[in-house]
Symmetry: D2
Subunit: 470 residues, 4 copies
């Protein structure tokens, strides 16, 4: 049902004996950021131990795994693949043995120059085993070019281009870095004397840690038991590029990221939408679950009563057996079922957070019609998505983005609604404090970080030419 899968969540903690267990909880709280794989590394001062696998945190990490990771520093990762397909080789953290010892790394974002760096290393004779863009960072950390500098990690980061929050682990410390544009969120927390780094503050809540501050763009944080230190590897970018889509869709409403409370921003988006696109109606309903905050905003400004249009089946899992063709159509309602008693005979304002391909939204609108809705006015709490993301969101190709191919009117017809309105870009940016510090390239096509246009996700999986033999 989900048109955009989330991508990655990070968690690191130094200090407590139960570091891996707390990391497990921290990943669990960020499970919405990635459901395809999960992994944890723990360091004991001499070695790095890794456990992980495919699936949800609770599938990928066993109690036995946690027991074998009882060391005072841990980092963890939940993943939806951005670069790299869904293979176990790509479970992060990735670990390597290097001349200066073992190192582990995990990554949220997308490197736009990974292909070039990898080609260069392969040309020099390096071998690659995973298909993700993250592996190239391990090669850089092992490379004497960086290794022999005073601050190898900082030197390597300076040669990365793109979007990244990184956790790196050595046997004696954890380092966390955020790219100079600040594209992805990364925050610092503290519980007692123990320091934490996480993608979202909801991960701090679950371990009852207090939020301290965000990792700054261009900053490296070093965690050791009881101690946190900071240094810069680069100045903040002239143009910061925080992902506005994190606020619109990805992050948990209970989190604070980029200095904003996610719930309040979403409510403000809905309120702005009510001002820009009012409609005479009986009931405002959100499409669960992301649009609930925006629907509240729309309701408050418009005065249209708010209601509940769907029930959600919380037991949907990856293991649902694909039904045979004959009854496949029935599965549309597996996750969302309209509440007939709520919507029948009503003129509805349906609030969505965003529309990507439009096919799922269309099915939802149809199910509301079937349940007796009299009118459907779809209001989208963000602008039309017309451009792909190169910094970590797995939007489909431009050809599949409905708003890249069609006018608003055509989209409304396709979705089968009585009226359709999107929020304007200006109104969207007015909902955040520092609108100039955001990337909204998926809406505007204005890419703040230069990209290689030929990039696409599966690039590292393309078969290479076989070795030509004389």
């Amino acid at each position: 049902m989900q048109e955009i899968k989330h991508y990655c969540g990070l968690f690191a903690i130094a200090g407590p004996e139960a570091a891996a267990e707390l990391t497990y909880l921290g990943l669990y709280a960020q499970q919405h950021r990635g459901q395809e794989a999960a992994g944890i590394c723990a360091a004991d001062g001499r070695e790095i131990h890794r456990r992980g696998g495919m699936g949800l945190v609770t599938d990928a990490i066993s109690r036995h795994d946690l027991e074998s990771l009882r060391h005072p520093m841990a980092i963890g990762h939940v993943r939806y693949s951005t670069t790299g397909s869904c293979k176990s080789d790509n479970v992060q953290p990735l670990v390597a043995q290097t001349a200066s010892g073992p190192v582990a790394i995990c990554h949220n974002g997308n490197l736009v120059n990974a292909g070039g760096l990898r080609d260069d290393y392969e040309h020099r004779g390096h071998i690659f085993t995973a298909t993700s863009d993250t592996e190239v960072i391990l090669h850089m950390l092992a490379d004497p070019k960086y290794r022999d500098q005073d601050d190898p990690f900082a030197a390597a980061l300076r040669d990365l281009r793109g979007s990244y929050c990184l956790l790196a682990m050595w046997p004696d410390r954890i380092e966390a870095a955020r790219d100079p544009t600040g594209n992805r969120p990364l925050c610092i927390g503290r519980v007692g004397a123990d320091w934490i780094v996480a993608s979202e503050t909801c991960a701090l809540d679950i371990v009852q840690a207090e939020y301290v501050r965000d990792v700054a763009p261009g900053e490296i944080i070093t965690l050791t038991p009881g101690k946190l230190s900071s240094r810069r590897f680069a100045p903040p970018a002239a143009r910061c590029a925080q992902c506005v889509f994190e606020l619109i869709y990805f992050a948990d409403p209970a989190s604070d990221i980029f200095g904003e409370n996610v719930h309040l921003v979403r409510k403000a988006l809905g309120a702005a939408l009510a001002r820009e696109a009012p409609v005479d109606a009986d009931l405002v309903i959100p499409v669960p679950n992301c649009a609930r905050c925006a629907a509240l905003g729309y309701h408050e400004v418009s005065g249209v009563p708010i209601g509940r249009g769907f029930t959600t089946n919380h037991y949907v899992g990856r293991s649902f057996i694909q039904p045979t063709q004959a009854i496949r159509d029935l599965t549309v309602r597996l996750k969302l079922n309209p509440i007939r008693g709520s919507v029948a005979g009503k003129r509805l304002v349906v609030v969505e957070d965003s529309v990507v391909r439009g096919t799922t939204t269309r099915a939802k609108m149809q199910s509301l019609r079937d349940a007796g809705a009299k009118e459907i006015h779809l209001r989208v709490a963000s602008p039309p998505i017309r451009h792909p993301c190169h910094y970590g969101i797995d939007f489909p190709q431009r050809e599949e983005l409905v708003a890249a191919q069609h006018t608003i009117e055509e989209i409304g017809q396709f979705l089968g609604v009585d009226s359709l309105a999107y929020l304007s870009r200006e109104a969207m940016l007015n909902c955040v404090r520092e609108s100039q510090a955001y990337c909204d390239a998926c809406f505007s096509g204005d890419y703040p970080i230069p990209i290689n246009n030929s990039f696409h996700k599966a690039q590292f999986e393309r078969p290479r030419a076989p070795v030509a033999k004389a």
Copy 2:
């Protein structure tokens, strides 16, 4: 987190080749009624085939299972144990070989005379393998006392006391019955020429069937491919006893049961609560997810703005690794995390559907305080629960029901709220059309079906006295 687990859901269909697959979907849509075990039987005219196991439908039934069940009649069951512990021997449908062939049965409800019937059969030399009260029905169906009558199933049902919706399968037909008091819901649906029986209408929706009517109290429905017939085994009880708690808590808001739309009843409960227990406040928030409908009703009548107080982690599963004692307290927030941006500094009206032990509610209230709530006024959209249920709801012992032991004021202090109010019994009953047709014994202590006071859930598991040998 859940104080009351749901109990059982039923689904039967006769006609299509994919009967078992549709049953899988129908159980899936009713997964909220039981998460401990699931099973499906299919009949081919000569034999009954069974598959099932512990856990969610998607865990208990594999694709391979469904393939081995491709026969045109199927019945299925999801279970939370009411009588009988969580053991695989109790996965329903139960199947037995009898002198008149194989028979399968599944049950939603609780038989108050099962103990006596079982004692009698054991005394006569019968053996029992499961610990549920349902097994005794198999013995009755095999018993010549009933078997030799014109309508064995009806004859057996007439000797059952208590609450039951039953599905029984013979190789050539399915029969569905509802007890004379109508305690549990059971409805009839139709898709094309195929007939369906299900606990809730949300199971009809998922297979795009239309609702026809409810099975009447005291009625037996017979399903064969393309054909439905009806007969009575008993007149409706003088006093019907539909479970009001189904409307308050168990059923899916998208379902219609007992002739009511669940969502609308819950909204009416919230509205009545606003009239009975108004309070000067800034924000109404529901405790997810059941109280969302009631909170809407409270908001509409009171005029207090409605908001969202918590985010829900949808990835909570049974397999979560129990953390070590040291960090166990942290898990309070695994499922619900308060949205600080929403509740901080606010005077809150928190709407709950019901309060059982009170311990979970207390933790939720504390987390709202921690997130900065200024005042907390808890409003419960049902009366205080003071009496155990003998008809299938797994309430704890009377000693653990907070309202059975304490005054409202004491409960408010225990929960740590600024004010507390429950809905009155009268107001509750005003929210349904035929209030005299309901059982509200958990609130009133007025049990419509006579019970054996010594009954408790694990009675069939108590060790018997060892055989005395001379």
Copy 3:
């Protein structure tokens, strides 16, 4: 590869806290008697706890299972289905709740009057859940007809016909019984103050227990911690009927059963075969593994040098992936591979223990030819199998027994050997001390226990006629 699967092994011990663990070992040592399912029950004085499942002991019972069975009395069972198909419902011990408490039972043998007893119970209204003949014994133990007698177990046993060694467990004791003909082996052992009953003495060896004596035909042994007592439920049959095929094929060569050492009997069979069917040859080789003892006997008497003709792949498991049709033929050599260096150019005497269908033997002979054998003289250390077994051996139908359908000469041609000889019945019986105490019906057709001719294994699985409804 195996033409006859073994059937069942029993083990019981009373006394030590680790009773279930010792039972696990005892079953493990008897794994050759049944590889399809395994189960263990332990009693704590008040209740009976059961664990088990399909497959080998090591698959069916987990460490966690053993931990949950730490009680001072345990019984266990390994099974190859004789009556009843390969379904988990048939895992033994079977357990039931009865009016006089719980009881568990396991069985080695085959009841020839189980069908009639079951029909009678079903007629009286009893239900059956398993398809094995063992379940009817549970019904008898619960039946007031037996239950009200002074010695219910003895009374029930007196009404059983057929072959049985039984272990029965009540919460406070274990009872072991052997049928009056002594058809299957059952011995008593002792380790310290703890008493053991097992099918074969090799199970005593593994727990370092000493052999005390066999359970006598018609005897019941009662085990409680530290105590063993005995009583008779019937006099020994006028005609004892110990299974000679246990000595020829089933039992472990290290075991003593029926007062004989299995290895020595097999060696004697081979020696007799050399006397009856000498041949001028270069090398005697056994077909692994059962015929190794007989081959030694043949070698010693004949003076023909003994060698090794095949290597055995010990890693053959149930999980071997069935290859696609194209390469299926290759799997003939999965388990046995001829040693070319040993057999090439040689005139071979190949010693087999028995020939059932002949198809597997034929493939083995062909592989010896392919490896360069010059002549193959097959010598079978038992008579031709011409009759089915009704007492627990899963021989195929008469139509599939090669010796029931063909002359010795035809069989030799079918097998592709240069000469073929079987041991005579007289010579076979001369190899045991009390030849009149044996059943050799599979060779002679002389059935010592009257049988119902229509019996066949799957009788309890045949679909019954559906209930006729007016």
Copy 4:
């Protein structure tokens, strides 16, 4: 029970669509060479696909895996770790992406200069993910130093030191190489137009392929569908070093390796032993299963009757539950149980293939005593093992080799036997045709390939010094 685990088996085939399935069979036939992990790679001309995991072939590779490998070239590996611990990262074949495309490799043997090569690569900035010595070969193949040469594989091989048979796979071909000393066996087979390379000829038998010849020391074989070609990368070593222990213990008796039939060599070893160390006795028995061939040889020369002393439990698996301490001693007889009827009262000659630590042999001798053996004369069909192996056999440290620490007399006392004799080195070498072409360093200490004395198996797992940071 096994004192020496085997190490590795290789199989490769080019041509048939079912290449992976045939590889599965070929590995299965060589399961005795490694039970810890198994893997298969298949090539489709453009890409290399890998499947595998821990455990036996049947555990590590599923039917689904084989279906996803239906390509006309496949290589496979079974492993007992020589270098590298038992971790899934070390499942072979190892696969890497390089500048010239993907490459896969698997290895039987041990590289004595792997440590130095790896240090060098790490120093240059390469990263390592596995802990086996095999990974360094992937780095060499990707290294421009070799990659840019006319024959990169040959060039890389020339810089390897130690023992190796290798299979390398590129998307369009398979290459197989054997080190210039010929330390490990590797043979070429053919079935129809399809070419095979395998460690042992028993793997050819299972796929009904004919043996063509051995891969020569210093030779590279290239396999493509329907085509085999050969080239040399090095001349055969001045001193060949075929592992004599392969003949004594590792290889399957049905195999031909190094131009010898394994069974016949073992029989000759036993015969020589009878000549060197005769004894007046009643019975010769082998310790199962390896010594069965040698025992035949001893018997034939000595004239002492041969018998069977033990039965073997074929169901021993890796999953056997470790019993609690109290009953641990009982498990000595899990695998071998003495046949009392065979050995009681006898003067035994017990033939063993080799003695490593001596602890297991001691337990076996004790169990024979317990079964009533009158005298035990242990005869070992190889010389005393006094030196570790550096070429792939996982002998324990010198301190644990009983013959490195004790005189023959002391060993005899330790083992509790009445007399003990080993075969002399001279007699052993007389049993093979080209005795000068063998390595017997484990007996003689005469290492044909220079070694780095500090080498030990876990060297790549030692924690490195953490990075020192200023």
